[in-house]
C-alpha cells in the first residue's frame, strides 16, 4: 500500500510540473527548465555518491561534454555548409576542424551527447578503481580533471570559443529556439527525460545491481570477498552517472542558450554535489527537490545580494554535512535525534550498543 502512495505523490508532482507552462512566467519557466535539467545530473550523483559511495568533484566535466557537443551542433546548424563560426575566424583558423564537422549531423550529435560522457566517465572510473585507489583520491582526481577541463577550454580559444564559450544558438532541427511554443516544448521534453531517468534509476536501484552498489558502499572488502567485483560495479555506476550528466548538460543549454568554461569548472562541479547533499544524497526524490531548491535559492540570493551567496553556500556545506548528512528528507529523523539528546533517552542506546 505504501508503495502506491509514493507513486501517487510522484505522479501528482509530475502533473504539477507538467502544467507549469500555464501558470509560470516565461522567465521562471526557463529557470525551472534549467533546474529540471540539472536534476537529471543529480540523479546520477545520487546513484554514485548516495548509493555507491563514490564522490566525484568533476561532474561538471561530463555535463560540459554533453553541453559542448550539442552547442557545437547548434552552432553548425545555423551556418551554411562551408562557413565556420565567427570566433574561429577571429582566431585565424583556415577551415572548420573535422572533429567539429561530424556534429553537423543531428543524430551524431545526439549520440555524442550520450556516448562521449559515458565512455569518458567509465574509462576514468575503471583506471582508478581497478587499481583499488581509495575514494578520496578519486574525488581529488576528478577535481583536478574539472580544473584541467575548464582551463583547456579557455586556452584553446580557436576551437572552443575560449572564455566566452559558445552562444547565440538559433535553430535546432529546423525550429526557432526563441519561439515561445518551442521553449514550452523543450520544457516538456526536459521534464519527460527527467521522469524517464527517474523511473529508470529507481528501477535500477531496486534490482540486484542496486543492492550490490549499496553493499560496496557499506563494505567494499566484504562485497569483494562475496565474489563481486567492486571496480566493475563502480565503473558501471559512474558511467551511468556520466551519461545522465551529458544529457543534463545538453538539455540545460537549450534553456540557457549559452555554455562557457565558467559553468563546467571546479566550483560549478562542487555546487552540483551540494545540491544533492541538501536534498538527501540517497533519496532520488530528495535530490530532485534539493536541486530545485538550491538552484532557485542561488538565483534569488545572488540576484539580490551577490556577495551573500558564497557565505550561504559555504554555510550550507558545513551544516548539511555535520547536522543533516542525509539531507532535508531526513528532517524528521533529526527531530528524533534532537529529542533523544535533550531527554537523554537511554533506551535508544541500549538497543544500538555504545558504538552506534
Amino acid at each position: 500500500m505504501n508503495k502506491w502512495i509514493t507513486i501517487a505523490i510522484d505522479a501528482a508532482l509530475l502533473l504539477v510540473f507538467a502544467l507549469a507552462p500555464y501558470y509560470l512566467s516565461s522567465y521562471h519557466l526557463s529557470l525551472l527548465g534549467r533546474f529540471l535539467a540539472m536534476a537529471i545530473l543529480s540523479l546520477g550523483i545520487s546513484i554514485t555518491w548516495g548509493r555507491t559511495g563514490i564522490l566525484s568533484l568533476g561532474q561538471g566535466v561530463f555535463w560540459g561534454l554533453g553541453a559542448y557537443i550539442l552547442a557545437m551542433h547548434l552552432k553548425l546548424a545555423a551556418l551554411t555548409p562551408g562557413d565556420m563560426p565567427d570566433f574561429m575566424m577571429w582566431s585565424g583558423l583556415e577551415q572548420l576542424p573535422a572533429w567539429w564537422n561530424v556534429f553537423r549531423n543531428p543524430f551524431v550529435a545526439l549520440g555524442g551527447v550520450i556516448v562521449l560522457p559515458t565512455v569518458t566517465a567509465g574509462a576514468i572510473a575503471w583506471l582508478v578503481f581497478n587499481r583499488r585507489v581509495s575514494g578520496v583520491y578519486f574525488a581529488l582526481l576528478t577535481q583536478a580533471l574539472a580544473l584541467v577541463f575548464s582551463t583547456l577550454l579557455i586556452s584553446e580559444q580557436a576551437y572552443t570559443g575560449g572564455f566566452n564559450g559558445l552562444t547565440d544558438f538559433n535553430t535546432i532541427l529546423g525550429n526557432e529556439i526563441i519561439e515561445p511554443s518551442f521553449q514550452r516544448a523543450i520544457y516538456w521534453i526536459t521534464l519527460a527525460v527527467l521522469a524517464l531517468a527517474f523511473v529508470l534509476c529507481s528501477w535500477l536501484l531496486d534490482t540486484g545491481f542496486g543492492k550490490v552498489l549499496v553493499a560496496i558502499r557499506d563494505g567494499e572488502s566484504r562485497a569483494r570477498f562475496l565474489g563481486y567485483s567492486p571496480a566493475a560495479y563502480k565503473t558501471l555506476a559512474f558511467a551511468l552517472a556520466g551519461s545522465l550528466a551529458g544529457v543534463s548538460g545538453a538539455l540545460y543549454i537549450l534553456h540557457a542558450g549559452v555554455i562557457s568554461p565558467a559553468m563546467v569548472g571546479v566550483v560549478p562541479s562542487i555546487e552540483m554535489v551540494i545540491a544533492v547533499a541538501v536534498g538527501g544524497r540517497s533519496s532520488l526524490m530528495g535530490v530532485v527537490l534539493g536541486t530545485l531548491l538550491v538552484n532557485f535559492g542561488k538565483d534569488t540570493i545572488s540576484s539580490a545580494i551577490p556577495e551573500l551567496w558564497q557565505f550561504v553556500v559555504g554555510a550550507l556545506f558545513i551544516l548539511v554535512v555535520t547536522a543533516l548528512p542525509k539531507g532535508l528528507v531526513s528532517v524528521s529523523g533529526l527531530m528524533l535525534r534532537l529529542k533523544s539528546i535533550v531527554f537523554k533517552s537511554s533506551a535508544h542506546q541500549a538497543l544500538e550498543g555504545p558504538n552506534a
Binding site: 559511495g53 564522490l55 576514468i124 583506471l127 582508478v128 587499481r131 583499488r132 585507489v133 581509495s134 575514494g135 578520496v136 583520491y137 574525488a139 581529488l140 582526481l141 577535481q143 583536478a144 580533471l145 580544473l147 584541467v148 582551463t151 583547456l152 579557455i154 586556452s155 584553446e156 563494505g219 567494499e220 572488502s221 571546479v266 562542487i270 554535489v273 551540494i274 547533499a277 556577495e307 558564497q310 557565505f311 553556500v313 559555504g314 554555510a315 550550507l316 556545506f317 558545513i318 548539511v320 554535512v321 555535520t322 548528512p325
Partner: protein, 303 residues
C-alpha cells in the same frame, strides 16, 4: 640564451614551484595520513598567510619585516587551522568525504571573507631590498640565466621547514606520539597518548606551514582571495603521488610535479602541461596506486 641556460632555468623554476607545492602538501599529507581528513580549506590557509604577511609588512618596516611576515603568517594560519579542527573537523572523524565537503564550505566562506575585506583585486607585498636582486650569469655556458634571490630564499626556507619537521617527528616526544597514532590509533590511545591533542597539533602545524607558503608566495605574486585554489589542486596531486607513508615521499612527489610541469611548459602551453600532468598521475597510480612510499598494513581499514 644558450640551450643549457634555458634548461637550467626551467630546472630552477621547477624546483622553485615544487618547493612551494611541498610547503602546501606537507600539511595535507600529514593530516590525511594521520586523521584521514581531507582539508579543502588548506589553500585558504595559504591565502590567510599571504594576507597576514601583507599586513605585517604594513605595520613593520625595514629589513626585519620579512621575519615578522613569516612569523605572523605561521602563527595566524596555525591558529586558524586549530580553530577549524576544533569546530568542524573533530566532529567528522572517520568520514573523509564529508570532511572534504565541510572544509570546502569553510574555504568558500574564507574566500568571500577575504574578498569583502581586501577586495577582489590582489594586494602586493614588496620584498625587502636585500632580496630584490638575482643571481645572473653573463658569461660562460649559463649566460642569460638569472635566479631571483627571492626564489632561492623560498627554496632555502622550504629546506629549513622540512629539516625542522623531520627533527620534530624523529626526535621529540610529540613526534613519537605522532608516529604512534599514525601506526595504530587505538593502541596509542590505550597507552595514554592524548590523540585529540596530537590531531590538533598536527593540523595546526600543517596549516601554519601552508601559511608560510602563502607568505613566501606573496613576495612573488599578488595575494588574491582565490590564490589558494590555484595551488591546492596540484598539492592534492602531490599527496596522491607521494603516498602517506613519509615526508620523503611527499618531497620527491612535490619536486617531480614541479619539474614535470615546468619542463613540459617548455614545449607546450600551460594548460596542455596541466593535461599532461594529470594523465601522468593517472598512469602513475596504475603502477603505484598508493603513492611512492606508503605505510604497509594488514589492517582491512578502507580509506
Amino acid at each position: 640564451m644558450g640551450q643549457l641556460a634555458i634548461i637550467a632555468g626551467q630546472l630552477f623554476n621547477g624546483i622553485s614551484v615544487g618547493s612551494i607545492l611541498l610547503l602546501i602538501a606537507l600539511g595535507l599529507a600529514l593530516s590525511f595520513g594521520l586523521m584521514n581528513v581531507i582539508n579543502m580549506a588548506h589553500g585558504e590557509m595559504l591565502m590567510v598567510g599571504g594576507y597576514l604577511s601583507y599586513l605585517a609588512c604594513k605595520i613593520v618596516h625595514g629589513p626585519m619585516s620579512l621575519l615578522f611576515a613569516f612569523l605572523f603568517a605561521f602563527i595566524g594560519a596555525a591558529l586558524l587551522g586549530g580553530l577549524l579542527e576544533i569546530t568542524v573537523i573533530r566532529w567528522l572523524y572517520g568520514r573523509p568525504l564529508d570532511t572534504l565537503l565541510a572544509t570546502w564550505g569553510v574555504s568558500l566562506i574564507l574566500q568571500q571573507g577575504a574578498r569583502s575585506l581586501f577586495g577582489p583585486i590582489g594586494v602586493e607585498v614588496v620584498a625587502p631590498s636585500w632580496l630584490a636582486g638575482a643571481v645572473s650569469f653573463d658569461h660562460g655556458a649559463f649566460a642569460g640565466l638569472s635566479m631571483p634571490y627571492i626564489r632561492i630564499f623560498i627554496i632555502v626556507l622550504t629546506l629549513v621547514v622540512l629539516v625542522l619537521l623531520v627533527l620534530f617527528i624523529a626526535r621529540t616526544r610529540w613526534g613519537l606520539y605522532l608516529r604512534a597514532v599514525h601506526q595504530d590509533r587505538e593502541m596509542a590511545q590505550a597507552l595514554g597518548v592524548n590523540t585529540k591533542l596530537v590531531d590538533l597539533l598536527v593540523f595546526s602545524v600543517g596549516a601554519g606551514v601552508a601559511g608560510l607558503a602563502g607568505a613566501a608566495l606573496a613576495f612573488i605574486a599578488p595575494v588574491t582571495p582565490t590564490v589558494g585554489q590555484k595551488y591546492i589542486v596540484y598539492a592534492f596531486l602531490v599527496v596522491i603521488v607521494g603516498g602517506l607513508g613519509s615526508l620523503f615521499g611527499t618531497t620527491i612527489a612535490a619536486v617531480s610535479v614541479g619539474l614535470v610541469s615546468s619542463s613540459v611548459q617548455m614545449f607546450t602551453s600551460v594548460s596542455l602541461a596541466d593535461v599532461f600532468l594529470l594523465i601522468l598521475v593517472i598512469v602513475f597510480i596504475q603502477f603505484r596506486p598508493r603513492g611512492i612510499i606508503y605505510a604497509r598494513s594488514r589492517n582491512m581499514k578502507e580509506v
